[in-house]
Symmetry: D2
Subunit: 140 residues, 4 copies
Amino acid sequence: MTPKLSADDLNLLLQSEFPYSGDSLARVEAVGEMTARVRLPYHDRHLRPGETISGASLMTLADMAMYVAVLAMIGPVLLAVTTNLNINFLRKPTKNDVIAECRILKLGARLAVGEVTMYSESDPSPVAHATVTYSIPPRT
Amino acid sequence: MTPKLSADDLNLLLQSEFPYSGDSLARVEAVGEMTARVRLPYHDRHLRPGETISGASLMTLADMAMYVAVLAMIGPVLLAVTTNLNINFLRKPTKNDVIAECRILKLGARLAVGEVTMYSESDPSPVAHATVTYSIPPRT
Amino acid sequence: MTPKLSADDLNLLLQSEFPYSGDSLARVEAVGEMTARVRLPYHDRHLRPGETISGASLMTLADMAMYVAVLAMIGPVLLAVTTNLNINFLRKPTKNDVIAECRILKLGARLAVGEVTMYSESDPSPVAHATVTYSIPPRT
Amino acid sequence: MTPKLSADDLNLLLQSEFPYSGDSLARVEAVGEMTARVRLPYHDRHLRPGETISGASLMTLADMAMYVAVLAMIGPVLLAVTTNLNINFLRKPTKNDVIAECRILKLGARLAVGEVTMYSESDPSPVAHATVTYSIPPRT
């Protein structure tokens, strides 16, 4: 089962669907069978007290990485919605891009569940780990 | 045990600590003993496909509501950091302000755990529910 | 919307569906509109190192409390299954019965989400808090 | 950093610490650097309606797998306690042993976070996935 959408397709789709994100928008780097890699470019506006990337930025990135991984497999079902997200913050991210690696654990007819591991660029220790569930609307 | 910081104190603190948030910043409406109410003003930039408030906005709001509830009780310990956040999305929010009601379940020396229920303005059915854990740095 | 099953109905149902639980089985004390109260009777076999009730016992209780609350509302749909459970352990339970108070946050056609707060008998501080999602099979 | 305890050490420790578990006790099969593999032997008492392994059994197994992985690395700190567990149930387990593969994502001085993927014996599709946080007591 190969992806139905490429990284380029998904980047165009995100730009049109999230017009307010501007240069805060994450960038899809690669998609594969049940996987996606997404990058959040560093920007000062993602910082929080302590000079670290905010938890909000990492949660948004995790959610986006799973959205991308699911749409890559099922096509542009824009109304897929998150039903649950659980995130553990592990280490203080450095002031760099954050890379999210998503792996789908289950792609069912109604629910998709995946896990997302996030890293500061060029550091192999994860900064956060999330599990995300999407509800997939009935397809006609 | 009464709060050490008022809603006004906390609003000033958030404005200085999150300078990039502009008019997207949530507003503290009330704090009490182990509780806080925080409002996310409606803005088009919070929308996602389907004309609904994005999950990212709700997660950010839940995290902020717990941050506010904890700081109200322990004072301006800015380096308190989220270690875990779990959120269930329950209903599509309407295009209105979102209100977050936070209740601290445990305020320990090292960890604080709370729950946050979120509502669209003037609708009593919750749109999302989160549990949030903060790690509190050792105080000297 | 009143419950379709009473506490007595549910206790009979649990006894027939979980025949191996013996005197470890939780007991339904009360059901209401979107709520249930379930009691785990104290038994040494629920202990873990540190002379406290095991996390496994509390997780099982939380899951059971939500199962009971959902079946009370929708009737004996035995194949309702848990899809997600998130639990925060807050305080060491004492060597007493544990009471679980469940409140359903959303009862949809496909998913039900609820929260469960657990207490040691006669102590008002919660020992654990869980959120639980059940998938409800299509009804014919 | 090699494990301080072997699989045999850990099995002896579990047997002495969980005397009531009898033949329901999970068995440690292997430990490595920040990893553990634990097996839940099949038993009818783990079933729930629908002839499938109960969620309670899988949650207990996930918690045990993380306990084992942490103790292997830090030694027999029996009072390490779970603070958070999040589990997604992915597929109906078959009537077979369940294997849990645990990987520690962060082993800090105060908190350890790991993920656990569970499989029915001889089926490569995961039946459940959990993330687990343990609080580690101060060592003297």
